[in-house]
Symmetry: D2
Subunit: 377 residues, 4 copies
């Protein structure tokens, strides 16, 4: 099986996200890193791309140059990953989709709901894949959880409780550090701080596992460090289309939580718990029965959970391979095999609608508001 | 040191709460079980009291008989525990306080805010102790947490997040079981189900550790099993007088959570985590530092934490001895040593005010309301 | 039910073990603390006994005085607890048994195998109860484990692996502290240090749960702090009568382990794990199945596990109530109800035989030796 | 930086180890999969290699053909991974080293000590790299542990306790399954079963972290399933050159342990604990202090731990990336940067010497024997 050709925009030298995508794309030998516009400094980007093995003529200075250079090649890239600053995602993603490329866009897909809807429409029109990197949803045991819900193993889902809280922005003496500060500055981060950053991962996960859509929400935002304009702590209550009750807490001042992303799903006949720091186990309790530990790699898992793990039971697979799983699904999808677990433009715009809804609700003291993009109402 | 004399109302044969109080009162040899009106069936109560070693003349048929029998004795009981059905707490507690007895009342102390305020006034007027059994607050490591906050070891507290959720009422096929059903029936349980049952333990704990008072709240209630009138799941956001943000989730349909009561406290310079299923450890992270495990029994703990543990480090002490710690504090208080950790009538009425506030807020779709009893506004 | 009368020898003011026994005997209201010779300083012991509520005529100056004072009383104590320094256990236990008292002896029951066999013979001759305080075996979930083995739920037991290791003697700068040093000094501690102190708890537990007897063993001892004559770290391999393989590690220099006592039992059809720091859970894996968490208090536990717990599921019960469970079994046994879980003089002598066997084996570089007392060969 | 060229022998279609090496070599973009003799069925191997993107002229039918094909090429592979059945490792590794290739050999490197010494000599003579895949030693937090020991942060190491036990061979009804049975059959597995399979990982780890060499050992082997000739459970006590005491338990019948590989290191001034199922945390307790959790990715880690992690704190990295870390070190070593953490032929022969020593000791009832290869005595 020939490798697919892959290009990346952003993810230059020193970025965290660049290596994660390169590993994700290459770990399973599915993609060949063929083209890139890796840095906003054109020369630096071209040079770095070549140290990573990209041919000089496909080491581009910016995304426009890359679009121009790739679009008429017979051997053009099969997939473009957009890992640039958030505010540029919309423009780049749209342009590449319109030119007939498949795209994997980092989250958030856009800065507004309107832009998000535009991407959905463009993707539909062109028939190209537009995936969004909600990579936590690609952990095998998250896929197992979703498959259990779909198979009815929990009965109707009554309640989803999810947290995505850390304390890495909890040091007030570090609050002016530019790498922290921008996140709470509307000029750079948009309308929301912590909820838009981490909360939407959790909200996506709730819908993903419960196999349902968030319909309405009520939010309580707080800026616990007073210099912050945007929230560093948020609680969002929600209801899903099927009636499921949701609770989501997200914080960046929860000192001691390193990466506390967890989710609990409670249905009529059982409960599940998954946590991103122990991603290889899924804790399951049937109603009236004992709590059981479902292990990645055990016999009898649902197909999606089996397909996306590489090594045997109790050999942990971590975050970089969850990203790689997104690329596995993408490779399949590019080759024509439908992967319905792949987060897409509809997920991207739903997140953005939820962000705007939460901001509006928080301003109105927790009023319940519609969380759906207009196009999906 | 002579043992103090102790009497109990309620807690008859087959009750869960009776043995817990008997063990709590007697474990440390501080109280002698001297009198009791243990059962609403007078004869059964008298007989059972005698099998427990109470003299026939102090084995009473009901609380009125006990009040009459004890109040004029020279050797009357030093403490009366009220462990009867919730709706009777107010009347009995008030009567014994007015007759000059010290009282430990089970939670909830009353069914209304007005009754709660009345108890506060009566306790103040008589100068007698009126304690309320928020026994989780008597775990040594909870006392350590509170002492750390008071000593400024976390800096100003920004955020408290607490959960008290279980799944023991999650089986819809068992929802008509009388032992489950009454909790969701306003005729028996009052205005609130799960929040009044478990949530107020968590809310008390938040105030206790943060050493602050809940001022306003916003609630979202759900009856996830449709036959229930009262809520079986609730989320309450709150603000404390000092500005601390609070988040409280409580549920009885969280299948797989056996007794998930935990609390996290996040301040300017550190975070703490305590969970009732691992009560002998307190997890502490200083800002910018590593997470540490504080163990019950280790050297250098705050005085209150040391005083209320019995065996050496890593020998667990559990729930019954947390109840016993309430009795330890009561014995000291009766003998005149102020124990400011002892939950009292003010705590009792604050809980009731929070319950009514949450019910009102939930009805108004999460409107923020004052959570304080009128007397403390 | 009238309380039984209870006396204690040793456990004076400031001792750790005294309060543990007093709580154990009194927590459930089964025993009344009636007599005591609590201190090697006669006056101090008499005075302290009275502050604990013992009548002056039963507050004795030493054990001989107590024996003389109690043996002819009509209302003499029903049970005597021996909690004196190790070297005196034999003499006192023997004297009280011979005078017709029931005895609960702290471990080690004796300092030699010969003494141990003598106690077994005396107990048999007098028909009195001689229990030994292997209190860990009285945790409800340990009883559950034993009952599961007996019921065949694990099939034949192939392997038992147990550890009892802590690091509280790991500070070489503290090694001359008298409270630490005596343990490694043959003049005070006898032939063995850490194995005789903690290891025999683990060895007893192995036999208790596997429901079998240790037959042969091979030991490797080390004094990792060079000033110590006796071992501070030991590994003991053993075989049980039924062929079960055993592995036991015990250490007092395992810095970071606070109280690391755990046991794993592996049979033909399943495995179990229990740890003293999480005593309310028993981890069970059926062969080919998922790991399950068995909770104290859940429905369907074996009778012994149910009988010895007091509060509902997920409300932890800790070490002091495990000691109390020994007293529960003793109260039943004194009243004539056979409690086969109660550790007895045969267990006491088996431990002593294992200590001498391990010492001999370690001296012979791990030679396999018979671990049984001569009387049981 | 141009990718290095990499070839593999073994690891054909359906093998577990093949994908692990391909991911390890390619995840970080350091190696290009250039040549392979992947299967003992020549045609199948050639075909499979080509589906993996290898050019037809470098898709070989067996290792001899590959050696012949590669050795005279100007662009020959920079590294050959040997992932064939154990009995062939020696011959292939030796041949490739002698032809001037760098080799990564799966464990065990050889079947005898003599062969192992031969590899050490050949590697030395040719100056080529001969690494052995003790991949657990490449986890970042294992490197951190070793660096802490080397930096003296634990003081002198007194004691190492390690376990590598699972229950996947615990089902007697599955014992005749060929994939299980061969491991206990001397004709196929050699002199040792479980110790040679898993135990040597743990023994290597002990030496690796303690930065010392195993000198003598005493072993107790058991075949708990009676049809097995070789051991399925083993306990090995050992002493290191610097006096450190060692304890190692390994089992394949420990039902419920999925992959229980853990190690504890206790020194004069602190203790460490690491477990392969939670590989991103290292538990550290300074003597007299509190237990701390050291997280992969936190600030201030030792250089080796930093270098070998890819994503930020609390984003787990698992087993496949530990294998990838071996390839990272190999890439550096091939380019001339000394990586002293890379397990090498000396480690390989030490393991084999320990296996033969343990077998001999077990036969002599635990006699202490020299565990070193003759060449290192």
């Amino acid at each position: 099986m020939t490798k697919l050709k892959w290009g990346m925009i952003g993810g230059g030298e020193g970025s965290q996200i660049g290596p994660a995508h390169r590993l994700g794309a290459q770990a399973d030998g599915l993609f060949e890193f063929t083209a890139g516009a890796l840095d906003h400094r054109a020369d630096a980007g071209r040079a770095y791309a070549q140290t990573l093995g990209i041919a000089p003529d496909r080491a581009y200075g910016d995304w426009q140059e890359m679009l121009a250079g790739e679009k008429d090649r017979a051997d053009r890239v099969d997939l473009v990953t957009v890992a640039t600053p958030n505010a540029t995602h919309f423009q780049i993603t749209k342009a590449f989709l319109e030119a007939g490329f498949n795209v994997l866009c980092e989250k958030p897909m856009t800065m507004t709901v309107e832009e998000g809807e535009e991407i959905v429409r463009v993707a539909e029109k062109t028939g190209k894949i537009c995936a969004v990197n909600y990579c936590y949803s690609a952990y095998p045991m998250v896929r197992q959880a979703r498959a259990m819900v779909r198979a009815g193993e929990l009965g109707k889902v009554r309640l989803v409780v999810t947290n995505f809280s850390h304390g890495h922005h909890g040091d007030a003496t570090d609050a002016d550090n530019p790498r922290v500060r921008w996140r709470y500055d509307p000029a750079m981060a948009g309308v929301s701080g912590q909820f838009a950053d981490c909360g939407i991962h959790a909200l996506h996960m709730a819908g993903f596992i419960a196999d349902d859509e968030v319909q309405t929400l009520s939010a309580d935002f707080a800026s616990t460090i007073s210099s912050r304009v945007l929230e560093d702590d948020a609680m969002v209550n929600f209801r899903m289309a099927g009636g499921t009750v949701g609770r989501l807490w997200t914080s960046s001042v929860a000192i001691g939580r390193q990466h506390g992303f967890d989710i609990q799903i409670f249905g009529e006949t059982g409960g599940l718990r998954w946590a991103s720091e122990q991603p290889n186990q899924l804790i399951y309790t049937p109603v009236g029965g004992r709590t059981q530990i479902i292990e990645k790699g055990e016999g009898g898992l649902h197909a999606d959970a089996q397909r996306l793990s590489r090594v045997s039971i109790a050999h942990p697979e971590g975050f970089p391979l969850a990203v790689a799983n997104i690329y596995c699904d993408l490779a399949d999808a590019i080759r024509g095999e439908l992967r319905d677990g792949l987060p897409n433009a509809a997920d991207g715009v739903r997140s953005m609608a939820a962000v705007y809804a939460a901001v509006a609700s928080a301003k109105e003291h927790g009023a319940w508001v519609d969380a759906r993009p207009p196009m999906f109402r």
